[in-house]
């Protein structure tokens, strides 16, 4: 599920996740942005080209770092998100982004607090486990759910911390985070996202939350 965008300056083709375009729109020009689990660096490249951000990434895979260097990114650090962001100073970036990754972390609460410490704002996207077809598979069919966003068999999945939109709101409260924006999404067939307005916890297959540490604005 990726969407291709072509950068005008040199024709580079980037592969973005469905919600990446919406995330790009959330970010102000010239911000300092950190992408956690930046993969092969496509979102960072797009943010650099479209929003002129100072981009940095953290990525677990050595091979992905190789690809980021191949793409000419100069700010990618090899690291395990489950170990937190101890080497990063408080408030040192404007946005910390975590796309479609929170469900694979061993300690999501720990990392999200770390994100809110390092970033002035955090942007988190995740698959909604309260999405109607998921509920149907578990509730009516009695099967562990699978979907384009959750394509794994139960016995072979990296996803260990799945949540619904309602769960995530509770989670933000537990982590002392203020929710600034909540964007429920519906992913279309071509990987394009639209915003869900009606019964989001049932109708959205994913969501983007923009949050900040509660203490920030006092």
């Amino acid at each position: 599920m990726t969407e291709e965008i072509k950068l005008e300056e040199n024709g580079t083709v980037l592969h973005l996740a469905p919600e990446h375009k919406i995330i790009i729109d959330l970010i102000e020009d010239g911000s300092r942005v950190m992408d956690l689990g930046c993969g092969e660096g496509d979102l960072l490249k797009a943010l650099k080209a479209l929003k002129h951000v100072r981009a940095e990434g953290i990525e677990l895979s050595e091979e992905c770092i190789q690809v980021c260097v191949e793409k000419g990114l100069f700010n990618v650090h090899h690291g395990n998100l489950d170990e937190g962001l101890a080497d990063y100073a408080d408030g040192s970036v404007d946005y910390v982004i975590l796309t479609n990754t929170i469900q694979v972390l061993h300690r999501p609460l720990f990392l999200i607090k770390e994100m809110a410490r390092v970033g002035k704002k955090c942007i988190i996207s995740f698959p909604n486990f309260g999405y109607l077809p998921i509920r149907f598979q578990l509730g009516i069919m009695g099967r562990m759910p699978k979907s384009p966003r959750l394509p794994y068999e139960w016995y072979d999945t990296p996803n260990i911390h799945l949540a619904t939109l309602s769960d995530f709101r509770d989670f933000c409260r537990a982590a002392d985070l203020r929710i600034l924006k909540e964007i429920p999404l519906r992913t279309g067939d071509e990987g394009k996202c639209s915003i869900v307005r009606f019964l989001p916890n049932l109708m959205a297959d994913a969501a983007i939350f923009v949050v900040e540490a509660s203490g920030v604005r006092g």
Partner: protein, 380 residues
């Protein structure tokens, strides 16, 4: 027969400077001169003069980083031939590469085994203690002599990495890209401890004679033991297990004596003995001391402060099985770079080779370094 991808036969060159009365002042406060540096160059300096890469070597390295030193050699003898050459990570078709033997060394540059012009005998312990800063200052003098006022990149592993870090802190405006590999911004207590055991091995050898052994019996045992200890720290538990396990050397049963039983013993002795043939014991003392003194944070007030003027982009590489300079020490460098808003790639390469991986593990780091140099060169 010259291999494809080799820079071919290279002649080591020599540059002498700091002739009295213009001796060079060293960090310890003493003056030294004249100073000779042995160096080699590969590739061509381009018209824009923006393609120079300075390669800095580790403890036992020398100026001969790539290619053959004579037509008689069957294989390239340069210590980093896997990295430097046409089409390699440091592509000599694109870049002009300079590598010099460090001051204090014994491979053509001025060191304790050189002749002291005042006594016309080898310096021995009369040679002043040199530091990483002194090594970098002499390299700067060499580049001035070669007419090079900016460096595309400084690259090196282990003690070479320390020189890379010293370069970007001491001459920040000169360096555009920096690649410190398997290194640290300050030597840990553990690493100092190993160095000290090596030095004690040398100094307790009766043949060492207070460093005045030139022309007599050299402290073979001491230097050999120092190298054996050092070599253990360059490998990993896993690589030693894979290479030797508990296999016996030339026997099928234990000897129940103190002659070599295990292959690993035999290997270390071989490594020690062959090192003695090519290295000077006093140089070992001086160079290991230079590493022990290295502490950028102390030198500049703090590590963050050290990079305050730096403009270079960094590629910091560590190795997962390196327990001499573990990854955490590279992360400390990254943290200080980030504090100064400097661009930096950090990657830990998964390998079983231990600290020495930068000399052995060609594939991954070749690709990383090649791409980093390519983009870094284009960007400037």
């Amino acid at each position: 027969m010259i291999e494809e991808g080799s820079v071919g036969i290279v002649e080591t060159q020599y540059f002498t400077f700091a002739e009295p009365p213009n001796e060079m002042e060293l960090e310890c406060g003493r003056k030294l001169g004249p100073i000779t540096l042995a160096y080699e160059t590969y590739g061509e300096l381009n018209e824009a003069c923006d393609n120079t890469i300075l390669v800095v070597h580790a403890l036992s390295g020398d100026a001969h980083a790539a290619g053959y030193s004579s037509a008689d050699e069957e294989k390239p003898s340069g210590w980093w031939d896997i990295m430097i050459g046409p089409g390699k990570g440091i592509d000599t078709n694109k870049y002009f590469v300079v590598c010099a033997n460090i001051i204090g060394g014994c491979k053509g540059s001025t060191g304790p085994s050189s002749i002291n012009p005042q006594t016309e005998r080898p310096y021995g312990l009369a040679f002043p203690v040199v530091t990483i800063q002194d090594m970098v200052n002499t390299q700067k003098a060499l580049l001035d002599h070669l007419g090079i006022d900016k460096l595309l990149c400084v690259i090196g592993g282990s003690m070479g990495g320390m020189q890379v870090l010293q370069w970007v802190c001491s001459y920040p405006e000169m360096v555009r890209l920096a690649i410190p590999i398997a290194t640290t911004a300050r030597l840990s207590a553990q690493a100092i401890a190993f160095d000290e055991v090596g030095r004690q091995a040398i100094m307790s050898d009766p043949d060492w004679m207070g460093g005045d052994y030139y022309g007599k019996t050299i402290p073979h045992r001491g230097l050999s033991i120092a190298r054996m200890i050092g070599h253990i720290t360059y490998l990993s538990d896993k690589s030693m297990h894979q290479k030797f396990a508990r296999r016996l050397q030339d026997k099928i049963e234990y000897g129940y004596d103190f002659v070599t039983d295990f292959q690993v013993e035999s290997y270390l002795r071989y490594k020690g003995d062959s090192f003695v043939k090519r290295f000077d014991a006093n140089s070992y003392l001086y160079i290991s001391k230079a590493m022990d003194y290295f502490d950028l944070g102390q030198q500049f007030g703090s590590l963050k402060q050290a990079f305050a003027e730096t403009i270079a982009k960094f590629l910091v590489i560590s190795f997962s099985s390196d327990w001499l300079f573990p990854s955490q020490q590279s992360k400390e460098i990254i943290s200080a770079l980030r504090y100064n808003n400097l661009d930096a790639i950090y990657t830990e390469i998964k390998t079983d080779y231990g600290h020495d991986a930068f000399l052995l593990e060609a594939g991954q780091i070749t690709r990383l370094i090649g791409n980093f140099l390519e983009h870094g060169h284009r960007k400037a």
